[in-house]
Symmetry: D2
Subunit: 411 residues, 4 copies
């Protein structure tokens, strides 16, 4: 990147005009995500944004009428709107190679992740799946085995790790900018479950608060896993021990809606993780702070284009998305690779989400077309992250039920 030409060049030289090596669009199928759902639409926006993925088929809903109507509105050929994921995988497998879907996106409630993921992988399709990856740790490990056996790619949508400034944070930690890491504070407060919404017609709340559909923990499965992934992703340190306190504040709720966890990481770092769905008035206030010997960093989802760097004995610095800073401030290639527009034009969650899709698509295409994916392209959450996420939920729940202060993080 040339110096002193201004930020417009970032976009030009670094991403928008980097060569697109994919020979064709990837074809996506979808389980879930019908008109009556929420997260499916987010996945579609993320997948479509860069013009490298097209939606070709789906089993959008258990309700056939909704599935059909969803397919129409999504401009899907009627004969590729299927009643079940089993039918979809079976019929798509039978289509000619140039026509059948390449990968399956799974946006159903948690208890419907494992089945379609397993079947898709075993039938040669790559997979994108919502977090948490499964309902139990055992299922998660089984998926990892299948991925290992089949050589397919599984991508888990831990959205927050897709932001350019999160990637910049990770790069700076890795480069030793802060010295040895001592303290990690990660939090995800929400307020949307402050009332018993699962009984008031909120479908998203209903399945999340249902232990059979959701898993062992509401708050940790739904958002705690995001926080834990973010902490490990940014610092490269893994949780070794924890001490958890889970609470169900809303009367009548069947699962916890708030949790605080003391953490001990490898290499002597310590931390705190807070996840809450009864922090009334909060929206999606994901925030991470990391402190090392020489300084600290702070990043927040609700202000995602600012990475605050606080070094001992220096003024605070704010690294901002999309800038072509001169050395020694030059943004990491992982940050710039995941940026679409020049500095000062905010990118948001949908772009972060789209980064995961774009990197996944580049990796899958590369593998299929015989190229080696770059490190930047391989940078998306994987089946291993899914296994760690399920282990996190299980360990937190075990700690909560224990009178011992510390519970070892068992994988």
């Amino acid at each position: 990147m040339k110096t002193h030409l201004g930020y417009v060049y970032l976009a030009k030289e670094k991403h928008l005009n980097e060569d697109n090596l994919m020979k064709r669009k990837l074809r996506m199928g979808m389980v879930g995500g019908g008109k009556d759902a929420f997260i499916g639409a987010v996945h579609r926006i993320a997948a479509f944004m860069d013009g490298k993925i097209e939606l070709v088929c789906g089993a959008f809903s258990v309700n056939p009428e909704i599935s059909k109507q969803s397919g129409e509105e999504l401009f899907i050929a009627p004969d590729r709107v299927y009643a079940t994921y089993e039918e979809m995988i079976s019929k798509e497998s039978a289509l000619p190679e140039g026509e059948r879907m390449d990968f399956l996106t799974i946006v159903t409630p948690n208890f419907l992740h494992f089945g379609p993921a397993k079947l898709a992988l075993e039938n040669g399709f790559d997979v994108v799946v919502e977090k948490p990856m499964t309902v139990t740790l055992d299922e998660a490990k089984e998926l990892q085995d299948i991925v290992d056996k089949t050589g397919r790619t599984l991508c888990l949508t831990h959205t927050y790790s897709g932001y350019p400034m999160v990637k910049q944070a990770k790069a700076m930690v890795k480069d030793g900018h802060f010295g040895k890491i001592r303290k990690i504070v990660v939090e995800y407060p929400q307020g949307w479950l402050s009332r018993l919404s699962e009984r008031e017609g909120n479908a998203g709340a209903a399945w999340r608060a249902d232990p059979k559909k959701s898993g062992l923990s509401l708050v940790m499965g739904d958002i705690g896993t995001h926080a834990a992934h973010l902490a490990e992703y940014v610092t490269g340190l893994r949780i070794k021990e924890l001490c958890a306190d889970l609470t169900t504040f809303v009367e009548g709720r069947l699962l916890d809606d708030d949790g605080s966890v003391l953490l001990r990481f490898e290499d002597g770092a310590k931390g705190v993780l807070m996840a809450s769905q009864i922090s009334a008035g909060e929206e999606n206030a994901v925030r991470i702070r990391v402190y090392g010997e020489n300084g600290g960093l702070e990043w927040a989802n609700e202000d995602p284009n600012n990475l605050i760097i606080k070094m001992l004995d220096q003024p605070r610095q704010i690294y901002r998305t999309g800038n072509a800073y001169a050395a020694p401030y030059t943004l990491s290639s992982f940050a710039t690779h995941n940026t679409r527009i020049p500095a000062g034009h905010p990118e948001g969650l949908l772009e972060s989400f789209a980064n995961i899709y774009r990197n996944f698509a580049a990796t899958v295409s590369a593998k299929r077309e015989g190229r080696t994916p770059t490190a930047e392209e391989l940078d998306f959450p994987s089946v291993q992250d899914g296994v760690r996420g399920m282990a996190f939920v299980q360990n937190v729940v075990a700690s909560n039920e224990s009178n011992e202060k510390w519970t070892k993080f068992v994988l």
Copy 2:
């Protein structure tokens, strides 16, 4: 919208699951926007994001090799990558109705807006064009005549008016929330032209700073028109008189790079507009403040999901994108219609841009399919805004050259 079910419902009930009435995707052609350009990629992301527009053809560059390579990387059929816009319009016109492009997006330098827009409109194509609409006010008026005659739709991409919180601001002003409007401060400081980048290989700077390609004013054409449009859009008040001071700070530059303008609006409101490309260190710090008898509002592009409301004798309020506030705080239908994801998950410039495309596409489809577009769908910048923008540039330049304090805004 139901009360107390939480913000997740906003997305569900208000936009993502609203019926898609379009019977098919719209087909887009593109003039400009090749691999060596910047804003074309932004337009494509904005157009693709909602899955309702597909790119089918283009004349991406005056350099045929770049155009060809761009077409390949965009997965365009080789026979629909054209050498010139004239060829594109001619050949597309000859294609069957079910195949030819529906509308043309023009993302060339300013001096190449008028030609393709005119030809496209006269050949039955709708048009999306970058601002400023033309190089001269006369051209702009001619385009308006052609739109009037042909009945086609022309959309001008004044991006900042696409944000949900800008639309909320407009709705609150219109509803009389602030009483009679007294004062408007709108600013667009950038720093990227603090050096003579047009001589240092920055292609975007080069044509913008070239009077023949850019027009009468660099700073006012490139960003002042955004600020002027934003002020008039939010307040519904039109500029009647102005007093301008334009400056060329960077030695060797052929056009101005900074300007400040005192404004007088209809109905007695006054204002200040500042546009600058030598505010070193600023990125795209668009900001508007509006004050009425009872309170004021503040909105900034670099923090676009917060609308700050300051009423006399009340705590400040921050309206945030994507919330399902209870009455009397319920967000305007114009805000919610232009929102994709729940509160706390930031939406950015690309979504704002995509709102313009989505509303344009819905309007064009409705007209073609015999439906009446809703007020929300019709809410995108039009050829009239383009004419006012060119008049703004011309009047500012006239005022700058005059020794009279006040220059009437002549259309």
Copy 3:
């Protein structure tokens, strides 16, 4: 307060022009706070600011030369600069009533709080003392007994509780604005002990990190007590159980420099307290968040004039110091009583500190002059808060050493 006259009236009607009922200035003596110290000067500024307290004597340093020079620079009569606090108390007691000091401010290191406090109280002087009140819980309880017996007033300078917006927060919680309180997050990260400053000539670090002079815990004694007091002050809820993890990150340090604590309050509320002196790059980032059934609040020391209120289903509100809001937003009398200047003119830590002195002085004067102090005047931290603070330190240390998850808060 009249409506619609604007905020300037707040200052006029509410505080600045409220009657001063004190018949004379109070006379302050000081132990510690010489030229070579830090916090003494802060106390003097806080005491002097409102013109109701004068410094008449002191034993400013164990170093007689420094004490003498300090006295000179503070314009103290040479015969009232004493070698020791014992001498000061003895000689001042012997002065005529109209001349001798009224109260003693103690700004020595922790281990030198108890002695002068006890002696002063027993000789008829009121006392202001820095936190933590003593080195051990037993000493703290003994001071409480002495206060009870002597009827004198002891004021503990938990600075953060003096801010107007903290008082507003407390008032809103008490009024039930947020419903039943569920979650409390309080934190005090600093970075100034990220290195072994106690061995590098930093005198303040040296005694704080010395167990004999400081007490059982560095981080909890020095700043954790502030956080614990703030949480209990704002919510009116007392800690009942806790689970603590203390760490010494800096090699060679004799006491902990970081701690995280899970909290359980009375009435079912839960919380997290974080105190850290190795959060490199942080200054004094005290922050509290409280969530109830209907909404939450957030306040931060580094931005103290904003109180952020987040109610379910409403835009966020920012209450700001010094405003004359109309009902139902009218600021609490406790907030306005502790405000000196109109809204928009920031008040800071010194004013918060001065509020403690002013309320202490008003209370002491009222008692001496036969008036009944108002609730607002009585609102400063007391000997009971000092006992709770020492109990907090002791309980945290006990929990840290225990393998049991939960430790009861024993007083």
Copy 4:
């Protein structure tokens, strides 16, 4: 300052423990500032805070009863509460040197500045006077002549120039950090005169809006002079030409309540100044932005401990009050001299105000005691600033009445 010892040292080494060379407290008299007034109390807090000034006499109000009661509550000896400033100056002059007041603080409405200032100076007293210095430019020039003749010191309380981060900004501009200055934007929006408060019992509004008591312009005299002073103080550049638009928005008001001014400074810099008292919902939102060839700065009164530095091609930096940054970031001696407490503990307007008093007092003492004041001590607004302020008001009003675009700044 030693490196790496942490911020606590700033306070210790730089100010709090710097030697106090004053041999005695200065004695202050006051005209105005009775119980029924507002700004007098602010002056007293500012004067008392550092323990170097005592209030010994006053003519606090034209109402003798209020003056008497004010004196009592301020603990002033009854025989030094005077009926008029003439009486005060006459009687104080007759007191022995070790007893009589040293300087006079004038906190009356504008039209009552000139008389007491002149008389005080001519009788050997130094003077602190509220801005604007006088009602007319002629009076201001006459005061300057008297100062020149008498050799006394006159201090004008342009409060905003007392903040440490404003002084840091000035130092960085002076050091060439930003290169040649191109653009200055300074603004002071308030909302407290959005209604006709002068007719609703607001005494402060009443005299300010009365041309006889206030001067030629309400908005420019009351707050525009602050903005103009701040711009010239920070940049060291003087206004050479201006183009103003003044407005009276509130019906029935006798003077303007809003004004916008295009500015041309020496050395080719340009700028905009906005002052408004009808920006409903604003408090005291003073803000300045300065842009040079290499970067810019931003500072705001409502967030005064942050100085935002935006350099081309670098992350943004936030310089914060009270830090002991290592080189090359070391804070200016002018910033640290005017700081009382360590970083992260906010200082506010009262400390800024107190800096003016402290520097004035140090200068006056030095002169009287035969020392040479340091550059830091001499750094407070002077009679020259008062003359420029009155010239600013007069030139703005002249420009507003002219049809010529540009009016030369005549002194």
